[in-house]
Amino acid sequence: MNKKQFFSHLGKNLPAGPYKKRFLEELNDHFEEAEMREQLNRPVQESEILTRLGEPHSIVSTYQKLMRKHSNFMIFIEILFWGILTIPFYVIPFIFNILTESTEVLWKKGLIFGGTLLVMAGIFYVLYRFIFDGLKPWLLVLGEKGRKGLVALLLSPAWSWAIVFITTSYSDRGEAQDYLFPLVILAYLGVGAGAAFLSMKHALKKPLMKPLKNNWFSIIFFIILLVVLIFTPLLGGVVFLTAIAFLVPFITFGKLIGGFWASGLILTGMGGYGIFQGIQALRKKNVYLPILKTILGFVFLGFIFYPVTTKSEGVVAWNFPVQELIAPLEQKQMGLFYNWQQRIETFELAPLHYDIGWQDNAFWLSQNERIFKLDFSQEAPQWIEREDKVFSLGLFRQSEFLPDTMTCEVDPLFLEGRDNTLPLTLGGETACLKFYYQDQLIFGQEDFGRLQNVLVSDDGKWMLILLMRNFERPEEVFLVELK
């Protein structure tokens, strides 16, 4: 490495701040002075002075350590930024839940919340040690552009999920995702590939690989990271994020509770990062900002896990549609109608290869190339496969969607702040926003975006509802007896 490369590396990698220019200027002066003075005694090679000044990555590291105040401030700003972005999603339901809960319920939730927080703190500590210890040398090697690329890469799939979640949650029947999804995938590919390129471009320069020699942990970590980066746009990113997003609550609660979206994941990461940065800095007796960061970290984590540990009753739009923590899915005999459900096997890549239809006085279900008929001759209705029947996939598309008599109303009981226990059995979930058909309750708000098809039998006695899969539930078909 020559002098020009040395300063170019420093220029790219030193954190921005009021002293960066000055530091480079003074190092340059220093270099010049050493050349001038020391040549009086004997010829000094440029490389000798460079060796004495130290490796560029170690200069950057020392500089960052000594100028910590600035980077702390940046972390604080980042946490604040993410906090402001996500406050509408977390603070509002948080306050809303407190206002509408009884003291007894609050105690229970508080206990679950506290326990969850402790377990999560442990998990985050392990993740933090693993990820940051493994990444540290690479982050220095990647250079400023590489680091930005890496962050963009990690965030891009997260944002894609966040956009999909937001649009499918707020739009009618998720129609927005028909055109949004390809766009998101394209953005995914673009940002992912661009960021991966930027990250790798710097990392693969030979002289910069030096600090990683004999650091096997980092090398193994990098190989894993590389695999994730390569496959991130479509496969790796999704697998990586969803695995973390679902694995963490799975470990914590012992079952998949779902509803743990990418925006929450980002904030969780920031919160966890803030906490451990804070604790680390506290050990170095840099008191005020770390305390604030630690508190902020816990507060943000709280905003995430409070809704996760509670049922989604009580909040119309912002809350997580989380199922009950422990209660298994149950079939219940409800007051007004007999509700029976038959779950279809989940298809990973072909969600549209099934449909329902009404023909020859019977409900039919096509699942890939198999045809089933709903048989009412048994005590409980069940799907019987009919190999003699052949329907084309397009046939069932003619079925009626959302009859005019189907309406959507806000439950008045909820608005009065009373216990909301209206009979709704989709996954054991109760909800405040419900669908009615001919004055009868059908299903709740959180399933609105999943609605794909609704059929009513000719005699008006039965209704079949086909729901698409979403982040936490597979495709489902519900049969409702209308009385």
Partner: protein
């Protein structure tokens, strides 16, 4: 024979402030060379440590800097002690003298 970096870390500000007092004003290279010579080559810290340390001292208003032309004809940033820096140095020296006295006493007892 080397010593733990932590030993110097606690006193590095005192060393720099004291050297600046002796030199009255100095730029980075001069300061580093002077410290190295004065300490008989024992205190040798890197440029990447010295300059951020100088910025920190300047932020605390213990030293000030000014870009001037050096005898070589090149522009250099010269550092010098502020009145506050001089006061702090006196305090630090008192503190260190007391520490040194304690250390001497302990080591004497131990031997």
């Amino acid at each position: 024979m080397t010593f733990s970096k932590e030993l110097l870390k606690g006193n590095i500000e005192t060393v720099v402030l004291h050297s600046l007092k002796e030199l009255e004003e100095a730029y980075g290279y001069q300061l580093l060379t002077a410290i190295q010579e004065e300490s008989g080559g024992i205190f040798a810290f890197q440029e990447s440590t010295l300059y951020p340390l100088l910025y920190r001292l300047e932020e605390k208003n213990l030293i000030c800097s000014e870009r001037k032309t050096a005898p070589s004809g090149k522009e250099r940033r010269y550092y010098s002690l502020t009145p506050k820096g001089k006061k702090v140095l006196v305090e630090k020296l008192k503190e260190f003298t007391l520490f040194l006295k304690g250390m001497k006493n302990v080591l004497k007892t131990a031997s």
